[in-house]
Amino acid sequence: MKRLVVVGNGMAACRLLEELTRLAPDLYQITVVGDEPFAGYNRVMLSPLLGGGTDEKTITTHPHQWYRDRNIRLITGTPVVAIHRRRRQVETAAGHLLDYDRLLLATGAAPRQLPVEGVTLDGVVSFRDLYDVRRLLSLPAARVVVVGGGFLGLEAADALVKQGHDVTLVHSRGHLLNQQLDESAGHRLQQDLEARGLKFVMQARTQSIEDNGQGAVAAVHLADGQRLPADYVVQAVGIVPRAELAASAGLTVNQGVRVDDTLQTFDPAIYAIGECVEHRERTFGLVAPLYEQASVCASHLAELGHRRYLYADSATRLKISGIDLVSCGDFLGDRGKGTEQGETLQLNLPGSYRRVQIRDNRVVGMVLYGDVSDAPFFEKLWKEKTDIGALREALLLGEVFCKRPGDSDEHSEEVAA
């Protein structure tokens, strides 16, 4: 049997293993090396876990038994420290030397570090893995500053509020989730989270983290001179692909490990998927493209390879503190250029907001906030570039009301019978 070594045991790796063991159960003798000391879990569920809405057992998608059932050797708690490409062997920190015929890199991403003084102080934490969550759950009631108003920062902040902490979120832009939401939705989100006790400082750049004199956090200093006293700082300013291992092995690395459309690196024996890769100058942070990569890569590893991975723009679906959000496409109508083109449709309801951007009678982007029941409907119109002319009056009201565009009101135009 051929030997496959998988470096990383995150969601991409687990999905690949599922596909591969289904497609070619007897092709490989598989070894998985994970640096976290856990079996496979759903990273998306870390926020609910931090917020107290679930437990570790529930979010464990692939317990040890799952690997045993498939004769997969699982090594956890130790990172791979070197790839010896000529010997086709990897080496772990614990000293394992593992031979491979095929190697899969699924090393994921690491939290981006704040480029400021004091980032190494005790009490500056990230929100990335189960270990981080366990640490955050163990904190006594404290003043916490979360830096970053993106998805991870918001989830962390919201969960920490639920844990009883005094939380202030610092965001560098004018509205939250600026990659996914327009200003209206961003402001709504801020209001809704404020109502739940979260505090915000917007358009604020973090200048430094103050030392309390004992090597721990005392406060966060902002560029405008504000000082936010804090016991802990959660940094959530994005992620960086973990590509050092590949780079040190001489593989081509730009932002991430470069792969082709078959998810192969420049070494034909080595594949890479997930947040660690760079495919056609794009890196990844959401789960949907990872799964697609896992599926394509599995087919090649199974030697049934004919599929190619091509990035398909899809809607971003998020849930923050129970609030559903969906966004896709050119939702500002500016094609990323800052000047708006096309037409904006907006719907404002208590607890719900919709924006659909139209150009040439076609949906080019959208933001849904709160009630996202019609997200699949809008996404379909967007992907299929459907002419929405006839639906326009009822479009934002959703599929149910678009099904009957021809209905007219008996009283509508008749003055005289």
């Binding site: 849930k319 719907l347 139209i358 934002l396 149910v400 509508s412």
Partner: protein, 886 residues
């Protein structure tokens, strides 16, 4: 004992349909039986024998406390009756003392009961000492009154409704009987069905609904009635069809009249052309008239509301006198009145040029007799100001205090905008009304809450001189009082307590009936003396009776008239001068009733279903004119005349003569932004009757294309937009009656305007599509109840009117998306709860995929996307797999 207590004593409540009363609407005066919950036509009433029209059938829907005037108000403050009555009496007394009796005036209404009318007339003419009391009957019937008085020596309608069924020829002229007097029309329809040989001729410039029944429709040009009937007289003479014996025995003035008539010649071809009809149609009409001994000519507002309305009435009567067809079975001229008690008002003398009981102010003998009967200290010695003159005198300051009762002159008088200005500037304006909001009430200094139909009690006289009781069956709302009571109280406070001792409407009716004996002394037919000794109980039990009481329902069958000579008088009627149509105002605008509305809609405007027929104010035009003036059917037209303007919808009507337009008379500022037809009508009057020419207004028409159209539902008043017209959507809502507004506008309706307009809104649901100008808003109060719903767009947005109306009554759980949609969400089959929230996949969908063979979480994902994004639903998907496969 209070009025209410007496009513309870004499009229047992809650017995099935125990109350016999009459309809509050038109002059047909149909009998109604009701218990306040259900209502039927009174089979015993001679006017309708059980039939009712749609207005009458829905009258109960117009009851209720909504928008009722409930308390007396002085200068905007609610006050007690004592304070209000003192204030009215004091102000009138002061002005009379300072400026003389002619500085005050009453303007009353055919909606008043005979008792109310009688007391008002007695107070003004007999005790204040001025004849400045006129009535809105001036606007509808005064030309017929003049015609009757000139021809018969008394304002008497000789015939009765039965004549319409006995006639071989019924001529309906200037009357859209089908819509304005539906039950009279139904009686003619039934008669013609029973006797198909019976002929019906309709004379009207418009082809109206009434023409459905016509064997012949003479669509003459507006204002051609005198030439038509003068021509008839000539034709009858040429064809030896006159009743010379009758003329000789019972009439006077025939030769002069015939000579005047003959002046236009007997070239029927030319005459037909002048009138705009074919010669065949014209001579057919003349033939039929000559041939049918039993001919009834019904005439109404189309004849009366003209500059020569009196002559038009006499031209008709002349033809009947010349053929001896007056007051005979199936043969009579027949003026039918507009209002339920216009006739009662005329009888008591409620016009400024009448004294009382068909007697004249300027006749010394009449004057002395009435002064004696009333013991009146200051009985007026000269005619008072008629309606239009009266408001001109208010405008000039000559009249300094006016008391308006149960009518709406700001909407119903010509040059209506001027009337409003006059009232706004007037020293003291008192308005008695049963509603709280109205264009005239808005001008009032003192508002007095009056009883409305169903609450008030008294007599009315219909078009055939039938006197019926209106009886109450619901309690008075708030502090509302009977008009006679209010007037009596004011009279007492002005120092006339001895002459106004009335405790009950019965007292007044008895006095009035006794006064008719004075009319009898002067040879008048008006005779109610049989009721002068009526007991209260007999009054309560009154059955409908024609006057003269205990006589023939017809008058003058014997050829003996009320003139001093006993002979009827022919009246020479000159043809009206030909009028040039100017380029500035090339269209002749006619106005009138529509089927389901009444007057200024203060009552019918409360019943949503009465708008189902015609829901917005409109101008009907011939298709040629729509094209010629570049209007759009269903679009908007701005009409301008010398004195005013209006903005209404365009209705295409091939029944209009090219060059003419028709507008309904009903819409006021309470119901539409600018649709008061009388704001367009110049004050041109018949010289004899003072009746305005409402049917002949030169106007210009121009297209208006609004930038946006919209719907608004709310109980609040509308925001300031260029066009709106409203319809009540539910008569029975307690929390404020919700109205449906059709809107149109040019200017943008800004967010700020909306918030200023409805400051009580706690939440606004919004849908915006600025690129197409499509906006929707729903305003909710702090409890989430719907306050207003608005949708505007380049074209009229789609909504489900009935469903939206229901939403206003819903207490909670208003589905926001559906509200903005303006229609219920048809959710389709219930697919169960959402399992995969990323892709909104519901349980039943997932189960369906499993049934089709999906055997793993991945397969479910392939089948329906569930679980393929965040994966947090995968445990549930596993659970579903197990339950479905086990």
């Amino acid at each position: 004992m209070s009025v209410e207590a007496k009513i309870q004593e004499t009229e047992p409540k809650n017995a099935p349909l125990s109350t016999c009363t009459t309809c509050p609407y038109c002059g047909v005066g149909c009998g109604i039986r009701t218990d306040g919950v259900t209502l039927k036509g009174d089979t015993q009433h001679p006017a309708n024998a059980g039939r009712l029209c749609v207005k009458g059938s829905s009258v109960l829907e117009t009851l209720g406390d909504q928008d009722r005037l409930l308390n007396p108000e002085v200068d905007g403050e609610v006050v007690s009756w004592d304070q209000a009555l003192d204030e009215v009496a004091g102000r009138f007394r002061r002005i009379v003392d300072e400026h003389g009796p002619d500085a005050v005036a009453f303007y009353v209404s055919g909606q008043l009961l005979t008792e109310d009318y009688y007391v008002a007339n007695k107070l003004m003419k007999g005790y204040i000492g001025s004849a400045n009391i006129d009535t809105n009957s001036r606007l509808c019937m005064s030309s017929a009154v003049v015609a009757h008085k000139r021809a018969f020596g008394e304002d008497v309608v000789p015939g009765c409704y039965e004549d319409l069924e006995l006639a071989d020829l019924v001529i309906l002229t200037g009357s859209n009987t089908a819509w304005a007097h539906p039950i009279v029309y139904q009686r003619i329809v039934a008669a013609k069905q029973a006797r198909p040989d019976m002929k019906v001729v309709v004379i009207d410039p418009r082809r109206t609904a009434t023409c459905d029944l016509a064997d012949l429709h003479l669509a003459i040009r507006p204002g051609q009635d005198v030439p038509l009937f003068n021509g008839l007289l000539t034709w009858l003479d040429d064809n030896k069809a006159l009743d010379q014996a009758y003329i000789d025995a019972h009439t006077e003035g025939f030769q002069a009249t015939l000579e005047t008539a003959r002046r236009q010649g007997n070239d029927w071809e030319a005459l037909a052309a002048k009138m705009g009809v074919s010669k065949v149609d014209l001579t057919t009409f003349y033939h039929w008239f000559a041939a049918c001994e039993r001919t009834v000519t019904v005439f109404s507002q189309g004849v009366n509301q003209a500059r020569n309305g009196s002559d038009q009435g006499n031209a008709i009567i002349n033809a009947h006198l010349a053929t001896g067809r007056v007051g005979k079975s199936g043969a009579s001229p027949f003026s039918i009145t507009g209002q339920p008690n216009a006739m009662g008002g005329r009888e008591v003398g409620g016009l400024a040029n009448q004294l009382a009981v068909h007697l004249d102010i300027d006749n010394p003998a009449h004057h002395a007799a009435v002064a004696d009967f009333w013991q009146a200290p200051a009985l007026a010695t000269k005619n008072g100001l008629t309606a239009v003159e009266l408001f001109e005198a208010v405008s000039s300051g000559e009249v300094k205090a006016v008391w308006i009762m149960a009518t709406n002159p700001v909407d119903s008088l010509p040059e209506a905008d001027k009337v409003r200005q006059a009232l706004m500037a007037c020293d003291t304006v008192v308005v008695s009304d049963c509603v709280a909001s109205g264009d005239t009430l808005a001008c009032a200094d003192i508002r007095l809450p009056a009883l409305g139909w169903g609450e008030k009690s008294g007599m009315v006289t219909n078009s055939e001189r039938c006197v019926s009781r209106q009886r109450p069956f619901v309690p008075a709302p708030g502090q509302a009082k009977a008009d006679w009571w209010i007037i009596t109280e004011v009279a007492q406070r002005m120092g006339f307590a001895d002459a106004f001792p009335y405790q009950h409407e019965h007292d007044i009716f008895a006095e009035y009936s006794a006064l008719t004996a004075v009319a009898g002394q002067f040879g008048k037919r008006l005779d109610l003396t049989g009721a002068a000794d009526l007991s209260a109980d007999q009054y309560a039990q009154w059955q409908p009776q024609h006057w003269p009481l205990n006589g023939d329902p017809r008058c003058y069958a014997d050829g003996q008239f009320s003139t001093p000579s006993g002979r009827a008088r022919f009246v020479s009627c000159e043809n009206p001068p030909a009028r040039q149509i100017g380029d500035a105002f090339p269209i002749i605008l006619n106005s009138g009733r529509i089927r389901d509305q009444w007057h200024t809609m203060t009552r019918t405007g409360r019943a949503g279903r009465l708008f189902a027929h015609l829901s917005e104010p409109f101008a009907a035009l011939h298709p040629q004119d729509i094209e010629r003036y570049r209007l759009q059917e269903g679009g908007f037209v701005r009409l301008t005349s010398r004195v005013g303007d209006a903005l209404v919808r365009v209705t295409r009507d091939t029944g209009q003569r090219p060059g003419t337009a028709f507008m309904p008379m009903h819409w006021t500022d309470q119901f539409s932004r600018r649709a008061r037809v009388d704001a367009l009508v110049p004050a041109r009057l018949d010289p004899h009757s003072g009746q305005p020419a409402f049917k002949h207004t030169p106007v210009n028409v121009s297209d208006w294309q609004p930038r946006w159209h919209g719907w608004l539902f709310t109980a609040a008043s509308p925001p300031a937009v260029e066009y709106w017209a409203r319809v009540p959507v539910d008569a029975f809502l307690q929390a404020g009656q919700v109205q449906r507004y059709r809107l149109a506008g040019d200017a943008d309706l800004t967010e700020q305007q909306l918030h200023d307009w409805l400051p009580q809104a706690a939440q606004w649901l919004a849908l915006n599509d600025p690129a197409t100008g499509h906006y929707r808003r729903a305003a909710l109060d702090k409890d989430g109840h719907l306050l207003a719903w608005l949708a505007i767009g380049e074209t009229l947005p789609v909504c489900d009117v009935d469903w939206l109306a229901d939403c206003f009554a819903v207490e909670a759980d208003i589905q926001h998306m559906a509200i903005l949609a303006g229609q219920p969400a048809d959710a389709g089959p219930d697919l169960g709860p959402v399992i995969c929230s990323c892709f909104q996949v519901r349980q039943k969908t997932i189960e369906g995929v499993v049934e089709e063979g999906a055997d793993s979480v991945e397969a479910i994902g392939k089948g329906c996307q569930a679980g393929t994004n965040c994966g947090s639903c995968i445990p549930e998907l596993r659970g579903l797999l197990e339950t479905c496969t086990s």
